[in-house]
C-alpha cells in the first residue's frame, strides 16, 4: 500500500477504448510489493481486462481483506472506491456493498491466507449465495507479510524456504468453489497473461459468483525448489483445459474457428465466451464433469488452468431476494418510509 501516485502524463499515442479511456486510466498507485511479485502481474491483468471491456473505472468497487494480495486494489483502478477490510472477511463486506447498490461491478481481491484460513467460511457463503462479483484469490501458498509461514493452500509435502515440509493437506480453492455452487470457476497463473486477461474479462461480465484462483508465486518466500507454488513448478505442471476469448454483446461474432475445437458460451448479457479447447473432451458447462476432471488431473499431479465451469444462465443474490432494480442506496424517503396511515393500521392490530 502506498501514497505514491503515478504521474498523470499520458503518451498521445496511447490506444483509447470505446469510452475514450487509455490503459493508464485504469492504473492505480505505485505498487510497494516486492519486485517481480506475481500479484503485480495480476494487477496489470485486471487493468488490461477492465480497459478492454470498456468498463467505466469509477463504476467498479474493489474490496479486499488483509495481506499482500489485499494491498493490491490500491495499485489499479485509482478512480474507483476501494475498501481494505479485515482479515478474511472481505466477502461479507462485498456482499453488503452489493446489496446496497446492485448497479456497480464488484471485484474482490484476496489471498490464500486471507480466503483459505480465517476467511474460508465467508468465502464459502459468498459463493453459495451467488453474490454478483468477481472474486480473485492471488494464491502463493504462503504468508508473505509475516514472512514465510505455510498457508492452507500449500500442498502436502511441499517445502518452505527454510526447508520445513508441510504435513497438512492443501485446500484446493477451485474444487471448493465448484462444490459450493459458484457459477463461474477458473484457475490461472500470474505468469500467463494471455490466459488470465480473458478470464478476468469473462468473470467481470458474468452475472453471479465468479471465482478465479490465480497461482501467483511469492518470489520472496515460496519460489524455491520443493515448493509447488513456484514459477518453475507451475509452468512445468500447468495443464490448460481451454483458451478463452470474450466477445462483448455489442460486438458482432465474426471470428471463425475450426469445428470441434471451439465452444461458444453465451452469457445472460449477450456476451459470448469463445473457448478454444485444449482438452478435446472438456465441456465447461458440465458441473459434475468439471469436478471429476479436476480430481483426475490433481491425482496426476497436474495443475489445471482455464475456465473450468460456467453457468451462463446463473442467477445472482438479488434475483433470489427479489429486490427492486434501482439501487437500494438511492431510494427516496417516500419509497422507504410508510405513510402514517399504515402505522395507524398497525396500532389498531396491536390492541
Amino acid at each position: 500500500m502506498t501514497y505514491i501516485a503515478k504521474p498523470q502524463f499520458h503518451h498521445p499515442s496511447l490506444k483509447h477504448n470505446a469510452l475514450g479511456f487509455t490503459r493508464r486510466d485504469y492504473e492505480g498507485k505505485v505498487s510497494t510489493l516486492c519486485a517481480g511479485c506475481g500479484h503485480d502481474s495480476i494487477s496489470a491483468a485486471i487493468v488490461q481486462a477492465c480497459f478492454e471491456i470498456d468498463l467505466e473505472p469509477h463504476r467498479l468497487a474493489k474490496l479486499s481483506g488483509i495481506g499482500c494480495s489485499s494491498k493490491t486494489p490500491d495499485y489499479f483502478l485509482g478512480a474507483s472506491h476501494g475498501f481494505n477490510t479485515v482479515h478474511g472477511r472481505m466477502p461479507s463486506v462485498l456482499t453488503g456493498a452489493n446489496l446496497a447498490n446492485r448497479s456497480l461491478i464488484y471485484l474482490g481481491v484476496s489471498g490464500d491466507g486471507d480466503s483459505a484460513s480465517i476467511g474460508l467460511g465467508q468465502f464459502a457463503h459468498a459463493m453459495r449465495r451467488g453474490v454478483n462479483m468477481t472474486y480473485i484469490v492471488e494464491n502463493n501458498g504462503v504468508y508473505g507479510l509475516t514472512k514465510g509461514q505455510f498457508s492452507a493452500t500449500a500442498d502436502k509435502g511441499s517445502k518452505s524456504k527454510k526447508g520445513v515440509v508441510n504435513s497438512d493437506s492443501g485446500i484446493d480453492m477451485v474444487g471448493l468453489a465448484l462444490q459450493l455452487g459458484a457459477t463461474f470457476v477458473a484457475r490461472s497463473f500470474s505468469g500467463d497473461k494471455d490466459q488470465l486477461v480473458p478470464l478476468i474479462k469473462a468473470a467481470l461480465t458474468h452475472k453471479g459468483a465468479a471465482f478465479i484462483d490465480v497461482l501467483s508465486p511469492c518470489i520472496a518466500f515460496n519460489n524455491h525448489k520443493g515448493s509447488t507454488k513456484s514459477f518453475d513448478w507451475v509452468r512445468e505442471h500447468n495443464e490448460a483445459v481451454n483458451r478463452l476469448d470474450v466477445l462483448m454483446a455489442r460486438m458482432a461474432v465474426t471470428a471463425s474457428y475450426e469445428p470441434g475445437s471451439l465452444t461458444e458460451v453465451t452469457q445472460h448479457d449477450g456476451s459470448v465466451l469463445l473457448l478454444r479447447k485444449v482438452a478435446e473432451d472438456y465441456d465447461p458447462t458440465d458441473h459434475a464433469g468439471a469436478i471429476s476432471y479436476l480430481q483426475h488431473a490433481h491425482a496426476a499431479g497436474e495443475i489445471v488452468t482455464g475456465l473450468l465451469y460456467v453457468d451462463p444462465e446463473a442467477e445472482e443474490l438479488h434475483d433470489a431476494l427479489g429486490t427492486v432494480k434501482q439501487p437500494l442506496n438511492a431510494l427516496p424517503d417516500e419509497e422507504l418510509v410508510p405513510p402514517v396511515a399504515a402505522l395507524d393500521k398497525i396500532n389498531a392490530g396491536l390492541r
Partner: protein
Amino acid sequence: MTRPITAVNDFVVKFANVNGSGSASANGLFVKAILRMGVPVGARNIFPSNIQGLPTWYEIRVSGHGWLGRRGGVDLMVAMNPQTWDRDVAEIEPGGYLFYDSTKPMPSSKFRDDITVVGLPLTALCNAAYAEPSKRKILKNIIYLGALTFLLGIERAVVEALLAEEYAAKPALIPANIEALQIGFDHARDHLKPLGLKLRRADAVGDRIFVDGNTAAGLGAVYGGATVCAWYPITPSTSLAEAFTAYCRKLRHDPETGPDGGGARYAIVQAEDEIASIGMVTGAGWNGARAFTCTSGPGVSLMQEFIGLSYFAEIPGVIFDVQRGGPSTGMPTRTQQSDILSAAYASHGDTKHVLLLPEGPNECFEFGALAFDLADRLQTMIFVMLDLDMGMNEWLIEPFRWDEDRVLDRGKIMTAEMLEAGADFGRYKDVDGDGIPWRTLPATHPSKGSYFTRGTSRDPYARYSEEGAVYVDNMERLLRKFETAKSLVPPPIVRRAARKTSYGVIYYGSTSPAMDEALAGLEADGVAVDALRVRAFPFEGEIFEFIAAHDLVFVVEQNRDAQLRTLLINEGGVDPARLVKVLNYDGSPITARFIQAELAKGMGVPKARAGEMVR
C-alpha cells in the same frame, strides 16, 4: 390462617407451566381478556433455553393504577408444573392463592397454612372430555383458563370473542376451544368459590397497544429507512429481524411489481454468523444504504473487529443489542443489562460508541428509527440497547406515532455536483469543526471523490500514513465527533420529587416501569428522591449536573458490575463514593419492591420510618 388477600384490579398472577405444553396461548388469552376489560396489565414470560420439558413461567401484573413493571411477590399461583411445585408454592404472598390440578391427592405437607388452596381436577376433566392425547394436551390449558374466568370474574364473552379472533384462520378449532372453556368454567362455578382477587371492567387502557420491543424496533427500522438487514439467529434478538421482515413484506414493495415481482425495497440476509452479518452491515453502510443487524451479547463479542473498523473508517450502521444474561452463554433466555461496557467501548484500541437506551417498545420504535439518522450523521455504528424483558415481552404502551413531515437525515454525503463545483474533498477532513467529515459513495463521480477505505491510519485525504502526528490528529477529531454526538442523542429525562431532596436515582432501559412504581411507593412513604433516566451515551452535561446537585445518587442497574455507574465515573470523573450501586442481576426483570427497599435502605432509614427521613 392468614386473612385471604382481597383486591380488585390490582394483583399478581403467575402461571407455572412446562415448556412446550401449549400453555403460552392460554396465558396470552388470559392477559388479553383483562386488557379488553379495560384493565392495564404487565406480562412477563420467563422461559428456559429449551424447546420442551423444562419449567416456564408467565407472570402477570394486573394494575388498575397502571403499574406495568414487576411488583414482586405472587398473589395467585397457577401451579401446573410438578417440577417446580415447592418453589412456586413458596413464592405466594401470605394470604394468597394456589390454583392446582387436584386430580391426584397430594400430602398436606405440600401446601401452606397461610394460603388459600383451590383445586381443580384438571387432568380428570380433560381425560373425561377428550380421548386424543393431542387434544388433552392443548385443551387442558383452555380448561384452566375457563376456571380462572369464573374464579376471577373475567367476562366470559370477552374470552370467547378472543378465541374467535385467535382461530379466525382456522375456524374449525373455535367450537372445541369454547367447549373446553365451558368445561373449566362450569366445574369452577359448581364446585369452587370465587377468589378474593377480582377483575372489574374499567376504562384504564384507552387506545394503548400491547406489543413487544423487538417488534417495535423492527418497525422503527422500517420507518427509519433501513434497507439492508443482515442477521444471525440468537435469543433474544431473532424476533426483531423477523418483525422487520414481516413489516417489509407488508410495507416495502414496489406497488407495480409486488412481493413476487422483484419489487422488494429491502434486502434481508440471514448471514452465516454474527461476523458476516456485521460485515454486510459495514459494506452496505459504506455504500450508502441504511443497514443494521440485531444480536445479543455473544454476537457483539464476535463483531468486535468490524465494530472497530467501522469506528475508525467511519462507516454508518446500526446494531440492535437485545441483552441477555452473560457472560459467555450465561442465561440465554433471561434478561440483563450487561452489555453496556462491551458496547460502549467495543473493539481494540481507543473506541467509543453511541448507545441509545430505550425504556420500552415506544422508544424501541423511536430510537430504532433515530439510530439510522444518527448513524448517517455521525458516520459510525450506533447501538440500540434493548434487553430480553423489553424485547420479547409484550408491554402496554401508547400507540406508535410518526411525524409525516420528518425527513431522513442522510448526513454529509458529497455529491457529484459538489465535487464538480470544486469542493476540496478530503474523506477525513474536519471541514465544519464538528469532527464529522464528508464522505462520497462509490461511483459518485468519474474522476473525483474516490478514496480508499481502510482500517489503517491515514491522513485527512485518506492517504495511508503511519505518521504519529497524523494519527493523533485523526483520533482527536474522532473525539470531537463524539462530543458532537452529545447534542444529537436523546437527552436524559429528569423527574423532580415533590420536595427538595439531596438524594437522586439514575436508571435506564427496561427498569423504567418498575421504577415508576417504586418512586410512587417511596413518595407514598414520604421519601423524596429525584430521578434521572439516562437515554443515551455519550452522556450530556445535564447528567453530571444532576449528580453534582445531589449528595448521594443511586444507580439502578440489571447487571453485577454496575456497568453504567462505571461509565459515569469513567466519562464524568465522578467520585465513586457518591454513586451507590443498586443491582439486580438474577435474570428476572427488576421489581418495584426491590428498588424501593434498596433505596430506602441506602438512605439509612428502615422502610417503616421512611416517612420521617425526608430532608
